[in-house]
Protein backbone atom coordinates (compact mmCIF):
# COMPACT_ATOMS: atom_id res chain seq x y z
CA UNK A 1 0.00 0.00 0.00
CA UNK A 2 2.63 2.41 1.08
CA UNK A 3 4.90 1.76 -1.84
CA UNK A 4 2.05 2.46 -4.28
CA UNK A 5 1.53 5.74 -2.54
CA UNK A 6 5.17 6.64 -2.97
CA UNK A 7 5.05 5.74 -6.65
CA UNK A 8 1.82 7.63 -7.15
CA UNK A 9 3.38 10.56 -5.36
CA UNK A 10 6.34 10.52 -7.73
CA UNK A 11 3.97 10.30 -10.67
CA UNK A 12 2.05 13.26 -9.32
CA UNK A 13 5.29 15.21 -8.97
CA UNK A 14 6.08 14.50 -12.62
CA UNK A 15 2.64 15.73 -13.65
CA UNK A 16 3.04 18.91 -11.62
CA UNK A 17 6.42 19.53 -13.24
CA UNK A 18 4.83 18.88 -16.61
CA UNK A 19 2.13 21.45 -15.99
CA UNK A 20 4.78 23.95 -14.91
CA UNK A 21 6.77 23.24 -18.07
CA UNK A 22 3.66 23.70 -20.17
CA UNK A 23 2.78 26.97 -18.51
CA UNK A 24 6.32 28.29 -18.53
CA UNK A 25 7.25 26.99 -21.98
CA UNK A 26 8.20 30.41 -23.39
CA UNK A 27 10.56 31.01 -20.49
CA UNK A 28 12.36 27.70 -20.87
CA UNK A 29 13.73 28.16 -24.37
CA UNK A 30 14.78 31.06 -26.47
CA UNK A 31 13.00 29.74 -29.54
CA UNK A 32 9.34 29.61 -30.42
CA UNK A 33 7.85 26.35 -31.54
CA UNK A 34 7.43 27.47 -35.15
CA UNK A 35 10.65 29.36 -35.69
CA UNK A 36 12.36 27.72 -38.66
CA UNK A 37 16.03 27.62 -39.44
CA UNK A 38 16.27 25.98 -42.81
CA UNK A 39 20.05 25.87 -42.73
CA UNK A 40 20.16 23.90 -39.49
CA UNK A 41 17.90 20.92 -39.94
CA UNK A 42 18.02 17.48 -38.35
CA UNK A 43 20.62 18.64 -35.85
CA UNK A 44 21.59 16.32 -33.03
CA UNK A 45 21.55 17.64 -29.47
CA UNK A 46 23.90 20.54 -29.00
CA UNK A 47 24.33 23.58 -26.81
CA UNK A 48 21.93 25.82 -28.70
CA UNK A 49 19.32 23.15 -29.31
CA UNK A 50 19.66 20.67 -26.56
CA UNK A 51 17.24 18.20 -28.07
CA UNK A 52 18.32 18.99 -31.62
CA UNK A 53 16.16 20.32 -34.45
CA UNK A 54 13.51 18.82 -36.69
CA UNK A 55 13.05 18.59 -40.45
CA UNK A 56 12.44 22.32 -40.77
CA UNK A 57 15.15 23.33 -38.33
CA UNK A 58 12.73 24.03 -35.51
CA UNK A 59 13.97 23.54 -31.97
CA UNK A 60 12.84 20.16 -30.67
CA UNK A 61 12.92 21.21 -27.04
CA UNK A 62 10.59 24.16 -27.54
CA UNK A 63 8.29 22.05 -29.67
CA UNK A 64 8.21 19.47 -26.91
CA UNK A 65 7.48 22.06 -24.22
CA UNK A 66 4.87 23.90 -26.23
CA UNK A 67 3.57 20.49 -27.23
CA UNK A 68 3.00 19.72 -23.57
CA UNK A 69 0.77 22.77 -23.56
CA UNK A 70 -1.21 21.61 -26.58
CA UNK A 71 -1.56 18.03 -25.39
CA UNK A 72 -2.46 18.98 -21.84
CA UNK A 73 -4.97 21.57 -22.97
CA UNK A 74 -6.56 19.08 -25.34
CA UNK A 75 -6.56 16.42 -22.62
CA UNK A 76 -7.99 18.71 -19.95
CA UNK A 77 -10.64 20.25 -22.18
CA UNK A 78 -11.82 16.92 -23.48
CA UNK A 79 -11.87 15.36 -20.04
CA UNK A 80 -13.74 18.28 -18.48
CA UNK A 81 -16.28 18.27 -21.26
CA UNK A 82 -16.63 14.54 -20.88
CA UNK A 83 -17.04 14.88 -17.14
CA UNK A 84 -19.71 17.54 -17.41
CA UNK A 85 -21.63 15.99 -20.26
CA UNK A 86 -21.28 12.39 -19.13
CA UNK A 87 -22.00 13.38 -15.55
CA UNK A 88 -25.22 15.20 -16.38
CA UNK A 89 -26.47 12.43 -18.64
CA UNK A 90 -25.52 9.73 -16.12
CA UNK A 91 -27.18 11.43 -13.16
CA UNK A 92 -30.34 12.27 -15.10
CA UNK A 93 -30.60 8.73 -16.43
CA UNK A 94 -30.19 7.23 -12.99
CA UNK A 95 -32.43 9.63 -11.10
CA UNK A 96 -35.27 9.86 -13.57
CA UNK A 97 -35.30 6.23 -14.66
CA UNK A 98 -38.09 5.06 -16.96
CA UNK A 99 -38.09 6.07 -20.61
CA UNK A 100 -35.59 8.89 -20.06
CA UNK A 101 -33.11 6.37 -18.76
CA UNK A 102 -33.81 3.95 -21.59
CA UNK A 103 -33.45 6.63 -24.24
CA UNK A 104 -30.25 8.08 -22.83
CA UNK A 105 -28.74 4.66 -22.39
CA UNK A 106 -29.62 3.63 -25.95
CA UNK A 107 -27.83 6.70 -27.23
CA UNK A 108 -24.77 6.01 -25.07
CA UNK A 109 -24.79 2.36 -26.14
CA UNK A 110 -24.90 3.45 -29.76
CA UNK A 111 -22.01 5.86 -29.40
CA UNK A 112 -20.15 3.35 -27.28
CA UNK A 113 -20.46 0.69 -29.94
CA UNK A 114 -19.45 3.09 -32.73
CA UNK A 115 -15.80 2.36 -33.57
CA UNK A 116 -14.20 5.40 -31.95
CA UNK A 117 -11.59 6.29 -34.56
CA UNK A 118 -14.25 6.09 -37.28
CA UNK A 119 -16.51 8.35 -35.26
CA UNK A 120 -13.73 10.86 -34.67
CA UNK A 121 -12.76 10.89 -38.35
CA UNK A 122 -16.37 11.40 -39.35
CA UNK A 123 -16.80 14.32 -36.96
CA UNK A 124 -13.57 16.00 -38.02
CA UNK A 125 -14.60 15.37 -41.63
CA UNK A 126 -17.98 17.00 -41.13
CA UNK A 127 -16.80 20.04 -39.23
CA UNK A 128 -13.45 20.58 -40.91
CA UNK A 129 -10.08 20.06 -39.29
CA UNK A 130 -9.34 22.49 -36.46
CA UNK A 131 -8.30 22.24 -32.83
CA UNK A 132 -11.87 22.75 -31.79
CA UNK A 133 -13.30 19.97 -33.92
CA UNK A 134 -10.61 17.54 -32.78
CA UNK A 135 -11.50 18.35 -29.18
CA UNK A 136 -15.21 17.99 -29.96
CA UNK A 137 -14.62 14.67 -31.69
CA UNK A 138 -12.64 13.26 -28.77
CA UNK A 139 -15.35 14.43 -26.38
CA UNK A 140 -18.12 12.75 -28.35
CA UNK A 141 -16.06 9.58 -28.38
CA UNK A 142 -15.30 9.79 -24.67
CA UNK A 143 -18.44 10.82 -22.83
CA UNK A 144 -20.52 7.63 -23.10
CA UNK A 145 -18.21 5.66 -20.82
CA UNK A 146 -18.28 8.47 -18.28
CA UNK A 147 -22.09 8.56 -18.46
CA UNK A 148 -22.22 4.85 -17.79
CA UNK A 149 -19.88 5.08 -14.86
CA UNK A 150 -21.82 7.94 -13.30
CA UNK A 151 -25.14 6.23 -13.90
CA UNK A 152 -23.94 3.01 -12.29
CA UNK A 153 -22.52 4.83 -9.31
CA UNK A 154 -25.62 6.97 -8.89
CA UNK A 155 -27.85 3.91 -9.05
CA UNK A 156 -26.04 2.26 -6.18
CA UNK A 157 -25.73 5.50 -4.22
CA UNK A 158 -29.44 6.11 -4.60
CA UNK A 159 -30.06 3.02 -2.52
CA UNK A 160 -27.57 4.10 0.13
CA UNK A 161 -28.89 4.91 3.56
CA UNK A 162 -27.95 8.57 3.61
CA UNK A 163 -29.77 9.26 0.37
CA UNK A 164 -32.82 7.37 1.53
CA UNK A 165 -32.74 9.38 4.71
CA UNK A 166 -32.59 12.63 2.81
CA UNK A 167 -35.47 11.52 0.62
CA UNK A 168 -37.48 10.59 3.70
CA UNK A 169 -37.01 14.07 5.13
CA UNK A 170 -38.49 15.45 1.94
CA UNK A 171 -35.37 16.95 0.40
CA UNK A 172 -35.78 18.06 -3.20
CA UNK A 173 -34.21 16.17 -6.09
CA UNK A 174 -31.61 18.86 -6.92
CA UNK A 175 -30.75 19.14 -3.26
CA UNK A 176 -30.09 15.41 -3.05
CA UNK A 177 -28.04 15.49 -6.25
CA UNK A 178 -25.84 18.40 -5.31
CA UNK A 179 -25.58 17.93 -1.55
CA UNK A 180 -25.33 14.16 -1.35
CA UNK A 181 -24.57 12.58 -4.71
CA UNK A 182 -22.04 14.90 -6.27
CA UNK A 183 -19.61 14.88 -3.33
CA UNK A 184 -19.65 11.10 -3.32
CA UNK A 185 -19.31 10.83 -7.07
CA UNK A 186 -16.52 13.37 -7.31
CA UNK A 187 -13.68 11.14 -6.20
CA UNK A 188 -14.37 8.20 -8.44
CA UNK A 189 -15.12 10.48 -11.39
CA UNK A 190 -11.88 12.36 -10.90
CA UNK A 191 -9.98 9.09 -10.87
CA UNK A 192 -11.72 7.98 -14.04
CA UNK A 193 -11.12 11.35 -15.65
CA UNK A 194 -7.40 11.18 -15.00
CA UNK A 195 -7.14 7.74 -16.55
CA UNK A 196 -9.31 8.98 -19.44
CA UNK A 197 -6.97 11.86 -20.02
CA UNK A 198 -4.20 9.39 -20.81
CA UNK A 199 -6.29 7.76 -23.48
CA UNK A 200 -7.36 11.12 -24.89
CA UNK A 201 -3.73 12.17 -25.38
CA UNK A 202 -2.99 8.83 -27.01
CA UNK A 203 -6.07 9.08 -29.22
CA UNK A 204 -5.00 12.51 -30.44
CA UNK A 205 -1.69 11.00 -31.50
CA UNK A 206 -3.50 8.30 -33.46
CA UNK A 207 -5.54 10.99 -35.20
CA UNK A 208 -2.33 12.87 -35.98
CA UNK A 209 -0.89 9.74 -37.53
CA UNK A 210 -3.96 9.46 -39.73
CA UNK A 211 -3.49 13.12 -40.66
CA UNK A 212 -6.48 14.57 -38.83
CA UNK A 213 -5.15 15.59 -35.42
CA UNK A 214 -4.57 19.12 -34.15
CA UNK A 215 -3.58 21.05 -37.31
CA UNK A 216 0.00 22.26 -37.87
CA UNK A 217 2.11 24.08 -36.93
CA UNK A 218 0.74 23.55 -33.38
CA UNK A 219 3.13 20.97 -31.96
CA UNK A 220 0.84 18.46 -30.28
CA UNK A 221 2.85 15.47 -29.09
CA UNK A 222 0.82 13.34 -31.44
CA UNK A 223 1.95 15.35 -34.43
CA UNK A 224 5.55 15.35 -33.19
CA UNK A 225 5.43 11.58 -32.90
CA UNK A 226 3.93 11.11 -36.35
CA UNK A 227 6.39 13.50 -38.03
CA UNK A 228 9.14 11.77 -36.12
CA UNK A 229 7.97 8.42 -37.37
CA UNK A 230 8.39 9.63 -40.93
CA UNK A 231 12.09 10.17 -40.32
CA UNK A 232 12.73 7.45 -37.76
CA UNK A 233 14.97 5.43 -40.08
CA UNK A 234 17.52 8.24 -40.20
CA UNK A 235 16.80 10.61 -37.31
CA UNK A 236 15.46 8.48 -34.52
CA UNK A 237 15.78 11.29 -31.98
CA UNK A 238 12.84 13.04 -33.65
CA UNK A 239 10.51 10.26 -32.56
CA UNK A 240 12.27 9.33 -29.35
CA UNK A 241 11.73 12.47 -27.27
CA UNK A 242 8.04 13.04 -27.91
CA UNK A 243 7.44 9.32 -27.54
CA UNK A 244 9.18 9.28 -24.18
CA UNK A 245 7.25 12.32 -23.01
CA UNK A 246 4.01 10.78 -24.23
CA UNK A 247 4.67 7.41 -22.61
CA UNK A 248 5.84 8.88 -19.33
CA UNK A 249 2.83 11.16 -19.09
CA UNK A 250 0.42 8.37 -19.86
CA UNK A 251 2.07 6.10 -17.34
CA UNK A 252 1.97 8.75 -14.63
CA UNK A 253 -1.65 9.62 -15.35
CA UNK A 254 -2.49 5.95 -15.02
CA UNK A 255 -0.58 5.58 -11.78
CA UNK A 256 -2.21 8.63 -10.20
CA UNK A 257 -5.62 7.56 -11.48
CA UNK A 258 -5.16 4.08 -10.07
CA UNK A 259 -4.14 5.43 -6.69
CA UNK A 260 -7.22 7.65 -6.61
CA UNK A 261 -9.41 4.72 -7.59
CA UNK A 262 -8.08 2.79 -4.64
CA UNK A 263 -8.77 5.76 -2.40
CA UNK A 264 -12.34 6.13 -3.56
CA UNK A 265 -13.14 2.52 -4.03
CA UNK A 266 -16.72 2.42 -5.31
CA UNK A 267 -17.60 -0.33 -2.87
CA UNK A 268 -16.42 1.74 0.04
CA UNK A 269 -18.31 4.83 -1.00
CA UNK A 270 -21.43 2.83 -1.70
CA UNK A 271 -21.28 1.51 1.84
CA UNK A 272 -20.83 4.95 3.31
Amino acid sequence: MKRTNVIAGLALCYLVVLVLVAVGAPLLTKYTYDQQDLSGRFLQSNKAHWLGTDNLGRDNASRLFFGARVSLVVGLTVVSATLIFGGIVGVIAAMRGGWVDTLLMRVTDGLFAFPDILLAILIVGVAGRSSLTVIAALTVVGWPSMARLVRGQTLSLREALFVRAAQATGASQPHIVFKHLVPHLAGICLAAAIVDMASVILAESALSFLGIGIPPPAPSWGSLVSTGREFMRTDWHLVLYPCLALALTIICLNLVGDALFERWDPRKSARA
Binding site: M105, D116, F209
Partner: protein
Protein backbone atom coordinates in the same frame (compact mmCIF):
# COMPACT_ATOMS: atom_id res chain seq x y z
CA UNK B 1 -30.92 -16.17 -18.27
CA UNK B 2 -32.21 -17.09 -21.71
CA UNK B 3 -34.90 -14.44 -21.78
CA UNK B 4 -32.35 -11.92 -20.56
CA UNK B 5 -30.02 -12.86 -23.40
CA UNK B 6 -32.86 -12.61 -25.90
CA UNK B 7 -33.87 -9.21 -24.64
CA UNK B 8 -30.31 -7.97 -24.92
CA UNK B 9 -29.98 -9.33 -28.45
CA UNK B 10 -33.20 -7.58 -29.47
CA UNK B 11 -31.88 -4.33 -28.07
CA UNK B 12 -28.97 -4.59 -30.48
CA UNK B 13 -31.27 -3.66 -33.36
CA UNK B 14 -32.27 -0.14 -32.27
CA UNK B 15 -28.65 0.52 -31.33
CA UNK B 16 -27.51 -0.45 -34.80
CA UNK B 17 -30.20 1.70 -36.39
CA UNK B 18 -29.00 4.60 -34.27
CA UNK B 19 -25.41 3.97 -35.33
CA UNK B 20 -26.30 3.95 -39.02
CA UNK B 21 -28.51 7.01 -38.68
CA UNK B 22 -25.56 8.79 -37.16
CA UNK B 23 -23.30 7.84 -40.06
CA UNK B 24 -25.96 8.93 -42.51
CA UNK B 25 -26.34 12.33 -40.92
CA UNK B 26 -22.57 12.78 -40.76
CA UNK B 27 -22.30 11.82 -44.41
CA UNK B 28 -25.00 14.31 -45.28
CA UNK B 29 -23.37 17.17 -43.40
CA UNK B 30 -19.80 16.51 -44.49
CA UNK B 31 -18.41 18.89 -47.09
CA UNK B 32 -17.26 17.28 -50.30
CA UNK B 33 -18.97 14.26 -51.72
CA UNK B 34 -17.81 11.02 -53.29
CA UNK B 35 -18.75 12.24 -56.75
CA UNK B 36 -16.35 15.16 -56.46
CA UNK B 37 -13.60 12.78 -55.42
CA UNK B 38 -14.41 10.40 -58.24
CA UNK B 39 -14.32 13.17 -60.80
CA UNK B 40 -11.27 14.80 -59.27
CA UNK B 41 -9.88 18.18 -60.25
CA UNK B 42 -11.45 18.01 -63.67
CA UNK B 43 -15.10 17.87 -62.56
CA UNK B 44 -17.73 20.04 -64.19
CA UNK B 45 -21.05 20.81 -62.49
CA UNK B 46 -22.96 18.98 -65.23
CA UNK B 47 -20.89 15.83 -64.82
CA UNK B 48 -21.33 15.97 -61.03
CA UNK B 49 -25.10 16.28 -61.35
CA UNK B 50 -25.26 13.47 -63.87
CA UNK B 51 -23.26 11.05 -61.74
CA UNK B 52 -25.18 12.00 -58.61
CA UNK B 53 -28.32 11.01 -60.42
CA UNK B 54 -26.77 7.77 -61.64
CA UNK B 55 -25.88 6.80 -58.06
CA UNK B 56 -29.23 7.90 -56.68
CA UNK B 57 -27.60 10.50 -54.48
CA UNK B 58 -30.06 13.16 -55.54
CA UNK B 59 -32.91 11.49 -53.66
CA UNK B 60 -33.99 12.87 -50.26
CA UNK B 61 -32.04 11.74 -47.21
CA UNK B 62 -34.88 9.82 -45.61
CA UNK B 63 -35.58 7.87 -48.78
CA UNK B 64 -31.94 6.87 -49.02
CA UNK B 65 -31.86 5.94 -45.34
CA UNK B 66 -34.98 3.81 -45.64
CA UNK B 67 -33.52 2.19 -48.70
CA UNK B 68 -30.33 1.46 -46.85
CA UNK B 69 -32.10 -0.03 -43.81
CA UNK B 70 -34.25 -2.24 -45.99
CA UNK B 71 -31.15 -3.41 -47.81
CA UNK B 72 -29.19 -3.90 -44.60
CA UNK B 73 -31.97 -6.04 -43.19
CA UNK B 74 -31.41 -8.36 -46.15
CA UNK B 75 -27.63 -8.02 -45.71
CA UNK B 76 -27.48 -6.16 -48.99
CA UNK B 77 -25.40 -3.01 -48.59
CA UNK B 78 -25.42 -1.90 -52.20
CA UNK B 79 -22.44 -1.14 -54.39
CA UNK B 80 -19.25 0.63 -53.51
CA UNK B 81 -18.75 3.91 -55.36
CA UNK B 82 -15.15 3.10 -56.15
CA UNK B 83 -14.73 -0.63 -56.02
CA UNK B 84 -15.89 -2.96 -58.74
CA UNK B 85 -17.37 -5.28 -56.12
CA UNK B 86 -20.56 -5.06 -54.12
CA UNK B 87 -20.19 -4.07 -50.50
CA UNK B 88 -21.24 -7.54 -49.42
CA UNK B 89 -18.42 -9.08 -51.44
CA UNK B 90 -15.98 -6.62 -49.91
CA UNK B 91 -17.13 -7.50 -46.40
CA UNK B 92 -16.94 -11.22 -47.08
CA UNK B 93 -13.43 -10.97 -48.51
CA UNK B 94 -12.07 -8.55 -45.94
CA UNK B 95 -13.53 -9.61 -42.63
CA UNK B 96 -11.45 -12.65 -41.91
CA UNK B 97 -7.98 -11.07 -41.67
CA UNK B 98 -9.41 -8.59 -39.18
CA UNK B 99 -11.27 -11.26 -37.24
CA UNK B 100 -8.26 -13.54 -37.23
CA UNK B 101 -5.93 -10.80 -35.99
CA UNK B 102 -8.41 -9.78 -33.30
CA UNK B 103 -8.91 -13.32 -32.05
CA UNK B 104 -5.21 -14.15 -32.06
CA UNK B 105 -4.32 -10.88 -30.35
CA UNK B 106 -7.00 -11.48 -27.72
CA UNK B 107 -5.69 -14.98 -27.15
CA UNK B 108 -2.11 -13.81 -26.77
CA UNK B 109 -3.15 -10.91 -24.57
CA UNK B 110 -5.23 -13.14 -22.29
CA UNK B 111 -2.74 -15.97 -21.90
CA UNK B 112 0.32 -13.79 -21.44
CA UNK B 113 -1.58 -11.13 -19.50
CA UNK B 114 -3.03 -13.58 -16.99
CA UNK B 115 0.31 -15.34 -16.68
CA UNK B 116 2.28 -12.17 -16.02
CA UNK B 117 -0.46 -10.76 -13.81
CA UNK B 118 -0.50 -13.85 -11.67
CA UNK B 119 3.25 -13.86 -11.29
CA UNK B 120 3.19 -10.19 -10.40
CA UNK B 121 0.49 -10.75 -7.79
CA UNK B 122 2.21 -13.71 -6.20
CA UNK B 123 5.50 -11.83 -6.09
CA UNK B 124 3.80 -8.57 -5.15
CA UNK B 125 6.36 -5.94 -4.31
CA UNK B 126 9.33 -7.99 -5.49
CA UNK B 127 11.24 -7.50 -8.74
CA UNK B 128 9.14 -9.74 -11.02
CA UNK B 129 6.14 -7.70 -9.96
CA UNK B 130 7.80 -4.42 -10.64
CA UNK B 131 9.16 -5.58 -13.96
CA UNK B 132 5.70 -6.69 -15.00
CA UNK B 133 4.17 -3.39 -13.90
CA UNK B 134 6.76 -1.39 -15.80
CA UNK B 135 6.23 -3.50 -18.92
CA UNK B 136 2.49 -3.11 -18.75
CA UNK B 137 2.48 0.65 -18.30
CA UNK B 138 5.03 0.97 -21.07
CA UNK B 139 2.64 -1.04 -23.22
CA UNK B 140 -0.12 1.42 -22.41
CA UNK B 141 2.06 4.35 -23.34
CA UNK B 142 3.61 3.57 -26.74
CA UNK B 143 1.44 4.44 -29.75
CA UNK B 144 1.02 1.36 -31.93
CA UNK B 145 2.13 3.20 -35.06
CA UNK B 146 5.52 3.74 -33.45
CA UNK B 147 5.81 0.26 -31.98
CA UNK B 148 5.15 -1.32 -35.38
CA UNK B 149 8.16 0.10 -37.25
CA UNK B 150 10.42 -0.61 -34.28
CA UNK B 151 9.41 -4.27 -34.29
CA UNK B 152 9.76 -4.42 -38.07
CA UNK B 153 13.24 -2.95 -37.85
CA UNK B 154 14.36 -5.53 -35.30
CA UNK B 155 12.53 -8.72 -36.22
CA UNK B 156 12.00 -8.38 -39.95
CA UNK B 157 14.96 -6.37 -41.21
CA UNK B 158 17.74 -7.15 -38.72
CA UNK B 159 16.91 -10.68 -37.64
CA UNK B 160 14.98 -11.57 -40.81
CA UNK B 161 12.58 -13.76 -38.83
CA UNK B 162 9.26 -12.46 -40.03
CA UNK B 163 7.82 -10.67 -43.03
CA UNK B 164 7.82 -6.88 -43.12
CA UNK B 165 4.23 -6.66 -44.25
CA UNK B 166 1.69 -8.28 -46.47
CA UNK B 167 -0.60 -11.24 -46.42
CA UNK B 168 -0.56 -14.78 -47.81
CA UNK B 169 -3.35 -16.39 -49.77
CA UNK B 170 -2.89 -19.81 -48.18
CA UNK B 171 -3.54 -20.32 -44.55
CA UNK B 172 -0.37 -22.39 -44.16
CA UNK B 173 1.88 -19.54 -45.36
CA UNK B 174 0.35 -16.94 -43.08
CA UNK B 175 2.61 -17.47 -40.06
CA UNK B 176 5.44 -15.04 -40.89
CA UNK B 177 2.94 -12.33 -41.80
CA UNK B 178 0.91 -12.70 -38.62
CA UNK B 179 3.39 -12.53 -35.78
CA UNK B 180 4.29 -8.83 -35.77
CA UNK B 181 0.79 -7.41 -36.29
CA UNK B 182 -0.57 -9.72 -33.61
CA UNK B 183 2.10 -8.54 -31.18
CA UNK B 184 1.44 -4.89 -31.98
CA UNK B 185 -2.27 -5.36 -31.60
CA UNK B 186 -2.05 -7.36 -28.38
CA UNK B 187 0.21 -5.04 -26.42
CA UNK B 188 -2.48 -2.77 -25.04
CA UNK B 189 -5.06 -5.42 -24.16
CA UNK B 190 -2.22 -7.45 -22.67
CA UNK B 191 -1.23 -4.58 -20.42
CA UNK B 192 -4.84 -4.00 -19.38
CA UNK B 193 -5.49 -7.66 -18.63
CA UNK B 194 -2.22 -8.00 -16.77
CA UNK B 195 -3.06 -5.07 -14.53
CA UNK B 196 -6.57 -6.32 -13.85
CA UNK B 197 -5.33 -9.81 -13.07
CA UNK B 198 -2.66 -8.50 -10.78
CA UNK B 199 -4.90 -6.21 -8.76
CA UNK B 200 -7.76 -8.68 -8.37
CA UNK B 201 -5.36 -11.51 -7.55
CA UNK B 202 -3.72 -9.43 -4.86
CA UNK B 203 -7.18 -8.77 -3.46
CA UNK B 204 -8.14 -12.43 -3.51
CA UNK B 205 -4.82 -13.70 -2.14
CA UNK B 206 -5.21 -11.57 0.96
CA UNK B 207 -8.61 -13.01 1.78
CA UNK B 208 -9.40 -15.43 4.55
CA UNK B 209 -10.23 -18.51 2.53
CA UNK B 210 -6.82 -18.42 0.88
CA UNK B 211 -5.16 -18.28 4.25
CA UNK B 212 -7.31 -21.18 5.38
CA UNK B 213 -6.33 -23.22 2.36
CA UNK B 214 -2.69 -22.42 2.97
CA UNK B 215 -3.09 -23.43 6.59
CA UNK B 216 -4.53 -26.73 5.45
CA UNK B 217 -1.28 -27.37 3.67
CA UNK B 218 -2.27 -26.71 0.06
CA UNK B 219 0.80 -25.62 -1.90
CA UNK B 220 1.19 -22.04 -3.16
CA UNK B 221 0.74 -22.94 -6.78
CA UNK B 222 -2.26 -25.01 -5.83
CA UNK B 223 -3.84 -22.12 -4.04
CA UNK B 224 -3.12 -19.73 -6.83
CA UNK B 225 -4.39 -21.94 -9.60
CA UNK B 226 -7.37 -23.50 -7.89
CA UNK B 227 -8.78 -20.75 -5.74
CA UNK B 228 -7.33 -17.43 -6.65
CA UNK B 229 -7.45 -17.54 -10.43
CA UNK B 230 -11.06 -18.60 -10.34
CA UNK B 231 -12.01 -15.72 -8.13
CA UNK B 232 -10.00 -13.27 -10.11
CA UNK B 233 -11.67 -14.32 -13.33
CA UNK B 234 -14.45 -11.74 -13.33
CA UNK B 235 -12.38 -8.58 -13.71
CA UNK B 236 -10.22 -10.32 -16.25
CA UNK B 237 -13.22 -11.15 -18.38
CA UNK B 238 -14.39 -7.57 -18.09
CA UNK B 239 -10.93 -6.56 -19.26
CA UNK B 240 -11.23 -8.82 -22.28
CA UNK B 241 -14.57 -7.28 -23.13
CA UNK B 242 -13.42 -3.72 -22.88
CA UNK B 243 -10.20 -4.44 -24.79
CA UNK B 244 -12.15 -5.84 -27.69
CA UNK B 245 -13.23 -2.38 -28.72
CA UNK B 246 -9.60 -1.40 -28.89
CA UNK B 247 -8.78 -4.40 -31.05
CA UNK B 248 -11.27 -3.22 -33.63
CA UNK B 249 -9.99 0.35 -33.75
CA UNK B 250 -6.38 -0.80 -33.35
CA UNK B 251 -6.87 -2.80 -36.52
CA UNK B 252 -7.33 0.43 -38.49
CA UNK B 253 -3.75 1.49 -37.93
CA UNK B 254 -2.18 -1.96 -37.70
CA UNK B 255 -3.68 -3.10 -40.99
CA UNK B 256 -2.60 0.07 -42.76
CA UNK B 257 0.97 -0.23 -41.52
CA UNK B 258 1.27 -3.95 -42.25
CA UNK B 259 -0.65 -3.84 -45.55
CA UNK B 260 -3.17 -6.39 -44.34
CA UNK B 261 -6.29 -6.67 -46.50
CA UNK B 262 -8.73 -6.36 -43.62
CA UNK B 263 -11.82 -4.35 -42.85
CA UNK B 264 -9.98 -1.78 -40.74
CA UNK B 265 -7.78 -0.68 -43.62
CA UNK B 266 -10.77 -0.77 -45.95
CA UNK B 267 -12.80 1.42 -43.60
CA UNK B 268 -10.08 4.08 -43.47
CA UNK B 269 -9.78 4.07 -47.26
CA UNK B 270 -13.53 4.33 -47.58
CA UNK B 271 -13.62 7.34 -45.28
CA UNK B 272 -10.98 9.14 -47.29
CA UNK B 273 -12.87 8.43 -50.49
CA UNK B 274 -16.28 9.14 -48.98
CA UNK B 275 -17.37 5.69 -50.10
CA UNK B 276 -20.55 5.80 -48.02
CA UNK B 277 -21.94 2.32 -48.68
CA UNK B 278 -18.67 0.81 -47.46
CA UNK B 279 -18.47 3.17 -44.46
CA UNK B 280 -22.04 2.33 -43.46
CA UNK B 281 -21.53 -1.39 -43.72
CA UNK B 282 -18.20 -1.55 -41.91
CA UNK B 283 -19.49 0.70 -39.13
CA UNK B 284 -22.49 -1.52 -38.59
CA UNK B 285 -20.38 -4.64 -38.67
CA UNK B 286 -17.87 -3.25 -36.18
CA UNK B 287 -20.61 -1.99 -33.90
CA UNK B 288 -22.44 -5.32 -34.03
CA UNK B 289 -19.26 -7.24 -33.26
CA UNK B 290 -18.54 -4.93 -30.37
CA UNK B 291 -22.02 -5.24 -28.90
CA UNK B 292 -22.15 -9.00 -29.28
CA UNK B 293 -18.76 -9.54 -27.68
CA UNK B 294 -19.76 -7.39 -24.75
CA UNK B 295 -23.01 -9.29 -24.46
CA UNK B 296 -21.10 -12.55 -24.43
CA UNK B 297 -18.80 -11.15 -21.77
CA UNK B 298 -21.78 -10.19 -19.64
CA UNK B 299 -23.31 -13.63 -19.97
CA UNK B 300 -20.08 -15.44 -19.15
CA UNK B 301 -19.59 -13.14 -16.23
CA UNK B 302 -23.05 -13.92 -14.95
CA UNK B 303 -22.28 -17.58 -15.30
CA UNK B 304 -19.05 -17.36 -13.30
CA UNK B 305 -20.22 -14.91 -10.72
CA UNK B 306 -23.92 -15.19 -9.92
CA UNK B 307 -23.72 -12.00 -7.94
CA UNK B 308 -23.65 -10.02 -11.15
CA UNK B 309 -27.09 -8.56 -11.49
CA UNK B 310 -28.66 -9.41 -14.78
CA UNK B 311 -31.35 -6.78 -14.84
CA UNK B 312 -29.10 -3.97 -15.93
CA UNK B 313 -29.63 -3.17 -19.54
CA UNK B 314 -26.27 -1.51 -20.14
CA UNK B 315 -23.39 -3.65 -21.28
CA UNK B 316 -20.47 -3.81 -18.91
CA UNK B 317 -20.68 -1.59 -15.89
Amino acid sequence: MLSYALKRILLVIPTLIFVSALTFVAAELAPGDPIQIKLGERATPAAVAQLKHEYGLDRPLLVRFGDFLWGAARLDFGRSYFDTRTVRQILLQNYWPTAMLAILAMLVASVVGIFLGTIAAVAAGKWPDRLAVVLSVAGLGIPNFVLAPILVLIFALRLQWYEVAGWADNFSDLGPYLVLPVIVLSVRPLAAIMRLTRSSMIGVLSQDFIRTARAKGVSWTGVVVRHALRNAATPVIIGIGSSFGYLLTGSFITETVFAIPGLGKRAIEAIYQRDYPVIQATTILFAAAFILVNLAVDLVQARIDPRVRLNRDGATG
